[in-house]
């Protein structure tokens, strides 16, 4: 929490453009099936990299490998970022695939933050500091008004913004988003992308986002990685959408993209 306050003061207005995370020759094998092979990918500060690919391409698995949740071959180097007062060990923010929370749970947004960042048992008392920190994070995603709302009462888009705020507490070096907008209406998606896009500049964050919404991410992504067990192609959005394999996979999406956004 203290860290959060520091980061807010020391916002990075410029983009350092350095390589923050280097993934070298990463591979994942589960039950003798190769899930990911030879993934070499560099993530830069202040850049939003989007992972696209068909179902079962290993997109979520790549995020889990970076998080250290699955065993993997190859190497992942996190470069220390100088001048930001951050430590060498990176803070990784993670927004998992659409969570199914128990709708009847008496847990509100404040509790969600308190259980995640504070050790004082929420059963006993609420600390004012935790509440302030939660509000501060929620402000980043325009969701302060939701703090006393029960989680079950949030809409899909609201819930994703709240979870995004949570993944920014404390402000991470690397932010991983796993299909953050699936099942959210167009307005909610728009707002979510706008927020993420602002955040990356404000905090000089490197963001890796998995998405099925190719049409939506083209405008906000700095780079797109087309993944299908290995990296098929990688580059600026305009370069990647020219790839024939990608066009085949996302045929429908692209057709609608070309008609709706000339």
């Amino acid at each position: 929490m203290e860290n959060l306050a520091q980061h807010h003061i020391g916002l990075a207005p410029h983009l350092c453009g350095e390589c923050c995370t280097r993934i070298e020759g990463l591979e994942v094998t589960l039950n003798h099936h190769s899930i990911l092979e030879d993934i070499t990918l560099h993530l830069h500060c202040g850049e939003l990299t989007t992972l696209v690919g068909p179902n079962g391409a290993g997109k979520s698995m790549l995020l889990k490998a970076i998080l250290g949740e699955v065993r993997h071959g190859g190497a992942i180097h996190f470069l220390p970022v100088s001048g930001h007062g951050r430590e060498d060990v990176p803070v990784i923010g993670y927004l998992p695939q659409q969570l199914d929370f128990d709708r009847d749970s008496p847990i509100n947004v404040h509790d969600l933050f308190a259980t995640a960042v504070s050790r004082w048992p929420v059963a006993l008392w609420y600390s004012r500091r935790t509440r302030r920190a939660a509000l501060e994070s929620l402000r980043l995603v325009e969701a302060e008004h939701l703090i006393d709302r029960r989680i079950g009462q949030l809409s899909g888009g609201e819930l994703q913004r709240v979870l995004l705020a949570l993944s920014l507490t404390p402000v991470p070096n690397l932010l991983l988003l796993d299909e953050p907008v699936s099942g959210i209406d167009a307005a909610g998606r728009e707002l979510f992308y706008r927020t993420v896009s602002d955040l990356r500049r404000r905090f000089d964050l490197s963001i890796l986002m998995v998405s099925h919404d190719l049409a939506g991410v083209i405008a906000v992504s700095d780079r797109i990685v087309f993944l299908n067990r290995r990296i098929i192609c990688l580059g600026r959005p305009a370069e990647v959408i020219a790839n024939p394999d990608l066009r085949r996979t996302f045929g429908l999406d692209l057709a609608s993209l070309e008609t709706s956004r000339p």
């Binding site: 949740e69 259980t115 609420y126």
Partner: protein
């Protein structure tokens, strides 16, 4: 202790004149909040069936204790309940089968083993008091033990409360924040095993789980945040414990079961409040 007895016996009620009732009342007051606290986690983490299995495993622990010829099988009970809890978690991780299947088969196994061990020589009836329990048999020394263990278990649980709750909300989210460690789940499992075993003598194996689950489930109907949830659960648990105890005295029924019936009534009442609110609001 004597002071407490003196205070309670001043109450102008018939039941307050009996020492066994005063002991039982003290036991209820000590244990009810702890049950409620654990219950809030059990219900929120969807582990009601899990805690049920751990409770039933104590039958096997009893069997083992008898087999080993222990005078006081308490630690055998705790040990086996804990072993089953760890076993269920490990088996689920290892086989990746659904949790309810793993729990169900573990519970059947431990129950069968318990019954086999206890029925050797053909006299299971000796142990049937463990199935139903008898609160009125509780002694002053046992109350002291209950008090100390309750403080320890409750304190430990509060230390891990946030972690356990966040694991229950979403495990992969908790793990990504470094909060999905193995120990909170084990701590939780140990707390359930200890508390269930400690109170087995007076509630009985058959219904002990409902004392964990009912107050929390009732509180969930009307609570708006996590703190209210726990406070209401503790309140309901205390109320049901005391009301059930007194009712059982006058109605001459088994105490544990009477408490459960009162708790069920509380649950229905809070459900009514929830529905009414939903209709009005």
């Amino acid at each position: 202790m004597n002071l407490l007895h003196a205070v309670i016996s001043r109450l102008p009620f018939e039941w307050a004149q009996f020492e066994f009732m005063r002991n039982a009342l003290l036991a209820v007051i000590i244990v009810a909040p702890l049950f409620a606290l654990i219950g809030t986690l059990v219900v929120n983490n969807r582990m009601a069936f899990f805690s049920d299995a751990i409770g039933h495993a104590s039958l096997t622990g009893l069997g083992l204790g008898v087999l080993l010829g222990l005078a006081d099988p308490f630690w055998a009970l705790v040990f086996f309940s804990l072993l089953l809890g760890v076993g269920i978690l490990a088996l689920q991780r290892f086989t990746r089968s659904s949790m309810d299947t793993v729990i169900s088969l573990s519970m059947c196994f431990s129950l069968a083993l318990g019954v086999v061990l206890l029925s050797r020589g053909g006299s299971f009836n000796r142990f049937s008091s463990y199935l139903i329990g008898d609160l009125l048999s509780i002694t002053a020394r046992e109350i002291g033990q209950l008090f100390i263990t309750s403080i320890l278990v409750g304190g430990g649980l509060l230390l891990g409360y946030n972690r356990i709750l966040s694991i229950g909300l979403n495990e992969s989210l908790a793990r990504s924040r470094g909060r999905g460690a193995w120990w909170p789940q084990m701590l939780f499992c140990a707390a359930i095993a200890l508390v269930v075993t400690m109170n087995l003598g007076w509630v009985g194996i058959l219904i002990i789980n409902s004392l964990l689950v009912l107050p929390a489930a009732a509180a969930r109907n009307i609570a708006h945040d996590a703190r209210q949830y726990v406070l209401i659960a503790v309140g309901i648990s205390l109320f049901c414990g005391i009301a059930g105890l007194i009712t059982s005295f006058y109605a001459n029924t088994a105490t544990g079961a009477t408490i459960v019936l009162v708790a069920m009534a509380c649950f229905m009442a809070t459900l009514g409040i929830k529905w009414r609110k939903a209709r009005v609001g």
